[in-house]
């Protein structure tokens, strides 16, 4: 295995080996639009272990975005039990969720979601602001990550001056800045052409090879095929799970 750019800087998991990184039991999420009840997730049970490379796939409206929001600690379930990195999400308050998002989770979005008024380095630093890190620590860490994603030449540019692929690399650097245990990608190649998409996908694969847990949400079977476990969602339930390497057709 070739040496990866994304080797972990913190050795080993801080949670016991027998505890799943992501653990869901009978999780349900219900939305109300007016009087209408929408069951976005209906009894999902799932666990993801340290170091896995997982994709969540499903057509639009299947509930995969809702699942993504729950896994990303942006939301809490309506019913059921859920733990992320050993933290009980079901009972966590807003501040605790913010802390988990900040320290345990890295997010890469389809539309990059960079802050337009900040340059590349400053964008990468944003999550570190909320850990209370000093300005100099933030700057050296962001310099390091910007270099690892190969954007050192553009580190003072604004997002509007970058191509889509470059933006997504900034987003990946930002996701890694607090050294999270899990990296989530929400359709990370959706706004990119296929060649650039391949490059970004390759980066996620490298992250996984470096030992990080990677979860991708997508509707594209070709992307799912790169991962080691595919979780198919339909109508708010898990339809099936398989390893695309074994069931290659």
């Amino acid at each position: 295995m070739k040496a990866s750019r994304f080797s972990l800087t913190t050795p080993g998991p801080l949670i016991p080996a027998d505890v799943s990184l992501v653990f869901l039991k009978d999780v349900t999420k219900v939305y109300y639009i007016g009087d209408q009840e929408i069951r976005a997730l209906n009894g999902i049970s799932l666990s993801i272990e340290q170091g896995e490379f997982v994709s969540i796939i499903g057509p639009s409206g299947s509930g995969k975005s809702t699942l993504m929001h729950l896994l990303g600690c942006l939301d809490t379930p309506s019913a059921g039990h859920m733990e992320i990195c050993g933290h009980d999400i079901t009972t966590a308050n807003s501040d605790q969720l913010s802390d988990i998002r900040n320290r345990e989770i890295g997010f890469v979005f389809q539309s990059f979601n960079l802050l337009p008024q900040l340059n590349v380095l400053e964008n990468v630093e944003v999550p570190m602001i909320y850990t209370g890190a000093s300005a100099s620590a933030r700057r050296s860490r962001s310099e390091e990550l910007v270099e690892r994603v190969g954007l050192q030449d553009r580190r003072l540019n604004r997002p509007t001056q970058l191509s889509g692929g470059q933006c997504q690399r900034v987003a990946i650097a930002r996701a890694l800045v607090n050294d999270p245990k899990i990296v989530f990608g929400d359709e990370p190649t959706g706004n990119l052409d296929s060649a650039t998409g391949q490059l970004i996908l390759e980066m996620f694969r490298e992250l996984h090879e470096a030992g990080r847990t990677v979860v991708l949400v997508t509707h594209d079977p070709k992307i799912a095929a790169v991962t080691h476990r595919v979780i198919e969602i339909n109508d708010g339930q898990i339809e099936r799970q398989y390893d695309p390497r074994k069931t290659a057709t």
Binding site: H69, G72, L74, D75, S94, D95, S98, D99, R101, N102, R103, F107, F109, N113, L114, L115, V126, P127, I129, Y130, T131, R174, N178
Partner: protein, 417 residues
């Protein structure tokens, strides 16, 4: 932000103007002798004492000597004799009120000399023919000489030659001083002597002073008038004392009253003319001006604060997505709250600083358009106060938008386009 600028600048300007007025009236008060100056005046005798009126000698030099010896809370005693006399330098002549006084005349009403010296005890002892004159007299008598170079000249009072030993400074109000300064830069319109405007000039008397020793006054111009034929019994025309320490004002007046009850044999034919009421009025006016100006400024600050609230609310709707992103990468609601609040305070402070600068400009503009009687000046306290008010406006107007921003749901905010 414009509102904050307007508010702060008008606050600074108002404070500067009132500070100018205050300063002006304090200088004025000091030049007029201040609160410490008390005039002892003749007063109508009360009914119980009416039959004894002739027991009292009236205000005489004896009173002055007794007060000086017995009333230790009085720092200066100035008995004065006055007489309207023709005053002449040989070429110019005018009729003017001449004052005979003790050396205490100098200190009792905070007089200052421009040149020469004032009357000494020896001048009084020897009844010297020495005279100290006011600025106006010097200019009128010797139009071709600067006022401070007339020392040593001879001034004839009712054809008696007197040596000019000193000249008082030119007393003027703050506004006149500024006029003079303004005109000094324009040599084609030189100001000669006093401006003869229709305005009441509080310093006219002081600038037209002609002061000679008390004894000289008596012997040259007052003696021989029965029954006041002795320097000790001649009736004083004016009688001023100065209180040494304002803290013991009432006590000092009490001392004077006791002493004069002795010299006047218990007849209450005298009273005190203090300036407390006059000065109190002045202070009250200044305070009134400051409060009304401050209120106007505070209203514009309020309007400015509402403006900031609006700006911040608008910027939040523009930045919902940013807030969503920040929440997604770990910002707590509190972090967002603080961010918006700090931004609003920064805007307000920036407005405050610009406002202070504009305030200076405003003062300058007002000065050019409508020069007031007193030079306005900006105190550090006024600047700090104005900037503090701006910061408070920033906090108050930022709180509501900050609460709104921190309440945004991260998922909704992320989806927002």
């Amino acid at each position: 932000m414009l509102g904050i600028i307007l508010g702060v600048s008008s606050l600074v300007a108002t404070l500067a103007l009132t500070a100018g007025i205050e300063q002006g009236s304090r200088v004025f008060m000091a030049q007029m002798g201040g609160l410490e100056l008390v005039r002892i005046v003749d007063q109508e005798i009360s009914n119980e004492n009416l039959e004894f009126w002739n027991l009292s000698p009236g205000r005489t030099l004896q009173d002055a000597v007794a007060i000086r010896q017995s009333a230790n809370l009085i720092s200066h005693v100035s008995p004065e004799l006055q007489e309207g006399l023709p005053v002449s330098s040989g070429t110019e002549t005018m009729r003017i009120r001449v004052t005979g006084a003790w050396p205490d005349y100098m200190g009792v009403a905070s007089n200052e000399l421009a040149a020469g010296r004032f009357l000494s005890d020896l001048d009084g002892e020897l009844a010297n023919r020495a005279v100290v004159i006011g600025h106006t007299i010097a200019v009128r008598m010797w139009p071709n000489l600067p006022a401070d170079q007339v020392v040593g000249k001879t001034l004839f009072l009712k054809e008696v030659p007197f040596e000019v030993i000193g000249v008082f400074i030119e007393y003027m109000r703050e506004s006149e001083r500024r006029d003079a300064q303004r005109n000094a830069t324009k040599p084609e319109t030189p100001v000669k002597g006093r401006r003869s405007g229709g305005n009441w000039d509080p310093f006219r008397g002081k600038n037209q002073a002609v002061v000679i020793p008390f004894s000289t006054m008596f012997y040259e111009f007052k003696s021989g008038k029965f029954p006041e034929d002795s320097v000790d019994t001649v009736r004083l025309n004016d009688f001023n004392v100065r209180i040494g320490d304002l803290n013991s004002f009432a006590l000092a007046l009490d001392q004077v009253r006791r002493v004069m009850n002795q010299t006047h044999r218990g007849v209450d034919d005298f009273g005190f003319d203090t300036r407390e009421e006059w000065f109190d009025n002045m202070e009250r006016n200044i305070r009134g001006t400051r409060i009304s100006g401050g209120l106007i400024a505070l209203i514009s600050l309020l309007v400015g604060g509402i403006g900031i609230t609006n700006i911040m609310l608008a910027s939040i709707t523009e930045r919902v997505r940013e807030i969503g992103i920040r929440r997604a990468v770990g910002a707590k609601a509190r972090d967002i709250f603080l961010q918006i609040l700090i931004e609003s305070i920064s805007i307000a402070l920036m407005g405050g600083i610009l406002g202070v600068l504009c305030g200076f400009g405003l003062i300058d503009l007002l000065n050019r358009l409508a020069p007031s009687d007193n030079e306005p000046f900006v105190t550090i306290g006024a600047v700090l106060l104005s900037v503090t008010f701006a910061a408070v406006a920033g906090i108050v107007s930022g709180i509501y938008p900050a609460i709104q921003a921190s309440r945004l749901d991260p998922i909704q905010a992320l989806r927002y386009e």
